[in-house]
Every structure is written in C-alpha cells, then in structure tokens.
Point group: C2
Chain length 218, copies 2
DNA sequence: TAGATTGTTAATCGATTAACAATC
DNA sequence: TAGATTGTTAATCGATTAACAATC
C-alpha cells in the first residue's frame, strides 16, 4: 500500500526523531506536536509532519503525536525491533572505543565479534570479546548470524576489509576510515566520516562574522 | 568577485576531493580528470566540475586538473593553510581515542587541550596531554588560541559543554554526542553522529534484495 | 463551540545532471 | 588537426516550506 520510494533525507531524520522521543518518554511526556519537535530538533514542523506521513497517519489533529506510539512506529520503520549482530574489524584506538561504547549502540545492535589483521593481537580481550584473526571472519559471520560490519582500520586497508565483509555475506557496513568505499549492489554502506566533518567546519568558521570578502590575510 | 553563496552540499564534498587528490599526489600522479574523480568517488563528473568552478577555473580544457595545484586551491578554500588549535571535552573511550588518533586530524588541526568534568581525572595523561578541569576552559582557550571544540561527553551534558565552549569564545564545534545542539549565531556546529548512521543503516538493509512488500516476519 | 494541530496539496527553492561550445 | 575535457547554461529532478481544509 505504501511501496512509494522514501528519500534518503527522510530516513536519515528518523533516528533523530526517535532519539528525542525516547527522551520525552523517559520524562513521562505523553504527547508532542510537530511544532515542539521542530523547535527542539531545529527542523521545520511541516517537514516533520510530511516525513512521518510517508509511513502512515500517526498523529491526531488538534492533539499531536502520542510519544510512545510514535516511538513504536519509528522503531518498526527502521526495523529496530529485532537485535542485529555486528562485527568490528580494526582494534586501534577507535575500534576499541566502539567496543567499550556498546551501550550507545545497544539500542538494537551489538558487537558480537572483533577482528584484527595483526596476528599478534589474536586472543587479546576487549570488553569481554576475544580478538579474532581475519581468517575466521566468514565462519563467524555465519555462526553468529552477523549482518552488520563496522570498519575501523586505516584508510588503505578499508576497501579490502569491505570486500571481505561482502564476501562473508554481510548486508550493511558502517565505515569509519576516511576513504570512499566502492559500493556493492545488495550491500548498504554508510560512512561515519568525522575527519571530513572537521575539515568542512574550518570553511565556515571564519566566514561567520561579517568579514565580507576578506581576501586579505589579516 | 565571488561572494556568491556556496551550498553546504558543495562544501561538504571538498574534503572528499582533497583526500583523494592527496592520495594521487603521493602516487606521483600529476593530472586528473573529473571523469576519473567521479569514478573513484562515486560522483557525477559534471557535479565535480561545477563544484570546483564555483571557486575558480582550476582545470585545463582537454587536459584535466593538475593534482598538486588543485590540492593547494582546495586547501585555501577550506582555510586549511594555518594550523587550528582544538580543545576536547570528555575523556571517555571515544575522547581518548580521538586524542591518540590525532594523526588523522593533524592535517591542520591539533588537539592542544583536554578537559573533563570529573575532578578525579584531573592531571591524568592522555597522549602527552594533561587532563584539565572545566574551570580552566576559558583561560586555556584564550592562552592557547583555541578556535575549535570537540565534544565527547554523554548526551545529557553535551549542550552544557557547548554553551561553555561558546562562552569561552570558540568558533566551531564538532559534537559526537547523540543530541541536536542549539546553534548559536557566529558559532558553527557540526555533528559526527554515527549512532544515527547505524540506525538508518538498518532501514536499508533488508529493503535491499527483492523482498518487495514483505510485511511478513519470516 | 473555539483553539489547536494534523495530513496533504501546491508553491518554492535548491541541487544534480545533461549537453555542448570553447579550447587545450 | 583530432581527441579530450573543461566551464557553464539549460533542463531535470528532488527536497523544503507555506498554506489550509479537515477534524480532534
């Protein structure tokens, strides 16, 4: 009934809604309007209503949205109902941080296996998880029902790891390495690219206050 | 001559171009076409040409772009010429990882001061940096000429830290906490929101292969 | 009933892509 | 000269916002 193509921009806002709704729910707030949401999330209320309306009629005119009901609906849409098992490759600083982090992700994703190409790390413990060698990747993915892979290796190795994930049958990848990975049909790749985020931040920083054209170097 | 407003989408692609150009330069490749770039970065060549053309005529017809020249130009555009000093607040797993990481960021940004609200962490060493108490934030920002702040505290504290950054005179913030921060005029805020990235990944994962409407739960 | 707020259509705005003359 | 590739205009596509009837 709604096989209508949903734009990526819309899907990317859903987790933002969800997160804030969870906060409201914890504060025992029962109802919220698109107006309220818009103010808190810095978005246009019309946009929020439109986003949600793609998936159904979740609100009540004159009243707003029932917080818990909307949470339930968004979780369904994002398929956060069932737990997904995650593999992480690359046990450098960032990889280890993410393994310990887990609590943030644990909403519905859990890192259940950790890998590193460096044989000397084999067997090391990271937050109750034993570091495994890459040779075991395929077998682990199968045995543990892993569907998501996280890449936290240095940039030059990232594509190789991605290829191994794909070969092992993983369905989604979150890549932290600062490279653009070649996409494979049937496997979704998202980039968590904070170095790019930092570099583009620089662009806006001096542009901000009324320095007009400013081609001088001060 | 070009005070023309550049779209955010364009600016966000520049670091991606820059990164790949740096790779090419290291491989001693002198020239690159928008075609080549497009293939490697999974972008439309016309878009790349248009993006670059906002800032000047950097290419040569029939030839392409000189790699090193283009690198230089993009660095100028993004204002990566001079080093920017960065403060980081929150020495949990992620914060510590970023401090050690530095190499990736060091292109032009350097974490020069680390803070934590937890007094018991005061004086701890993280990669040659001493953890400071929040009371010292303003003074440090002034003394060390810090212009960028990174937030790696738990979500409920993030807005408070952002406010302190703003009060201290910081010009740009990169926020890793999973909350939307209230923007302040004159201060640019970017979000490094990998939990949202993970949640939206879930949406696309089963949609991928031809499971059509699939309202069953298999 | 009066006030509030949704869902949705239409209008606007912006970003991407195609196409091609200019030119190296 | 012939082939390649830019810079740029025009066409297309998509996303955001405004406006308002429906209705709680």
């Amino acid at each position: 009934m709604k096989p209508l193509k949903i734009s990526e921009a819309v899907v990317r806002r859903l987790p933002i809604y969800l997160r804030f709704l969870n906060e409201l729910s914890l504060s025992n707030i029962l109802t919220v309007s698109s107006q309220d949401l818009g103010e808190k999330l810095d978005l246009n209320p019309a946009q929020i209503r439109k986003d949600l309306a793609y998936f159904g009629e979740f609100g009540r005119k004159g009243v707003g949205y029932n917080v818990d009901y909307l949470i339930e609906k968004i979780r369904q849409i994002l398929k956060l109902d069932k737990m997904m098992n995650v593999a992480l490759v690359g046990t450098g600083n960032l990889g280890r941080a993410l393994c310990n982090y887990n609590m943030y992700i644990k909403d519905n994703m859990k890192i259940v296996a950790v890998f590193d190409a460096d044989q000397s790390k084999k067997g090391t413990l990271i937050n109750h998880l034993t570091v495994r060698p890459m040779q075991e990747l395929s077998a682990s993915v199968r045995e543990l029902g892993i569907t998501v892979g996280i890449i936290t290796v240095p940039a030059p190795e990232a594509q190789n790891v991605a290829d191994q994930f794909v070969a092992a049958g993983i369905r989604g990848i979150l890549n932290f390495a600062p490279v653009v990975l070649k996409a494979t049909p049937g496997v979704r790749i998202h980039h968590a690219d904070f170095t790019a985020e930092l570099l583009s931040l620089a662009y806006y920083m001096d542009n901000i206050k009324g320095s007009k054209d400013g081609d001088g170097d001060l």
